[in-house]
């Protein structure tokens, strides 16, 4: 009844239960944080805009992205993955989401940033629908916890338009 093996087993079970409980509580505690991030994006320049030989439109942009995501960080936050996507509708596709830039924010100190960049991933449409196209720029973020549930949200910024002509 009170053998060594029995006691070791009880201790191990108890330790694992407590550890699991603490992980669960840490994850639940994230829900009490109500973040209020802000973001601004400017399209500074259309570097070039053309139809590729296979018929798809491609555009290159210079962007100015500034954001303050400090309020997303809690004690259970390992990192925040943030990315900027162009979102638009075409006759063929109900939704197109094209990621233009992304970054990993490892800590709260780096969560208020300002970056001047060209698009990191190619902005290519499926087809030739980009001339004069209105699109949204959406800043998405995905919070990766140290343990537990991941969550995400976004800020939609609308009112961007591509030029009528290739250049």
């Amino acid at each position: 009844m009170h053998s060594f093996g029995y006691r070791a087993n009880a201790l191990l079970t108890f330790a694992i239960t407590i550890l699991a409980l603490m992980c669960a509580i840490a994850s639940v505690s994230d829900n009490f944080n109500s973040p209020s991030p802000t973001s601004q994006v400017q399209v500074l320049n259309i570097n070039w805009f053309q139809k590729k030989p296979d018929g798809d439109d491609e555009v290159s942009l210079t962007l100015n992205i500034s954001a303050n995501l400090e309020s997303l960080f809690t004690w259970n936050t390992k990192q925040v993955f943030v990315f900027l996507a162009a979102e638009y509708e075409t006759p063929k596709n109900m939704l197109n989401q094209v990621s233009l830039w992304d970054g990993i924010i490892p800590s709260k100190e780096h969560a208020k940033f300002w970056i001047h960049t060209t698009n990191k991933y190619r902005f290519i449409d499926q087809g030739s629908n980009l001339r004069g196209k209105d699109f949204n720029l959406t800043l998405h973020w995905h919070v990766m916890p140290k343990t537990g549930k991941m969550f995400s949200d976004k800020i939609v910024m609308s009112g961007y338009r591509l030029p009528q002509l290739y250049r």
Partner: protein
């Protein structure tokens, strides 16, 4: 010598009824594990509700040995989500992030492009020859939750099978020799 001797004695003194009880309790352990696994499959809608991260391509978010909980719902796939997908001709599923989504107007079919956070380029090189996009049927689920380190147990067991056999053997012996 005393402890081993006692254990040997307890094996010798086994009678039929005891053996039967132990067989039943062993069966209970195995079947309840199976029930939990299959139950999770029903709840999450994913054919493998828990996966272990095997590569460092999503660092620093996910490291080798972390465990991910998957969920497969009818919700459309959106960029930024971390999905687990199978590529034709590859056995091991891959956990990467969606960076591009094109969803068709009427059918709702999706073209998806993925990339590992820690990789330089997108995943077209990992896909089957000539494949440009992933489709719905390639995707096994999206990651919703995360538990660090626990997956090392399975990584060690698959890479060093001897440890697995030792563990199973020890557990088996414990079950056989336990009196209660």
């Amino acid at each position: 010598m005393g402890w081993i001797g006692e254990q040997i004695d307890s094996i010798k003194s086994l009678n039929f009824r005891q053996v039967l009880t132990q067989a039943v309790s062993l069966g209970m352990i195995v079947t309840s594990a199976l029930i939990i696994w299959k139950g999770l499959m029903c709840i999450t809608g994913s054919e493998s509700p828990v996966v272990v991260v095997l590569s460092g391509s999503m660092e620093p978010g996910f490291k080798r040995g972390d465990i991910l909980f998957l969920h497969m719902s009818k919700d459309p796939i959106r960029s930024g989500e971390i999905v687990v997908f199978n590529v034709d001709g590859r056995e091991i599923p891959i956990v990467h992030r969606v960076i591009k989504v094109h969803e068709r107007q009427e059918t709702g079919e999706v073209d998806v492009l993925t990339k590992g956070d820690n990789n330089f380029g997108d995943d077209r090189l990992l896909y089957a020859q000539g494949q440009l996009w992933l489709h719905r049927h390639h995707i096994m689920g999206r990651a919703v939750g995360f538990l660090p380190y626990v997956g090392w147990v399975t990584i060690i067991m698959t890479e060093k099978p001897i440890i697995k056999y030792i563990l199973i053997g020890a557990l088996g012996l414990l079950v056989i020799t336990s009196k209660e």
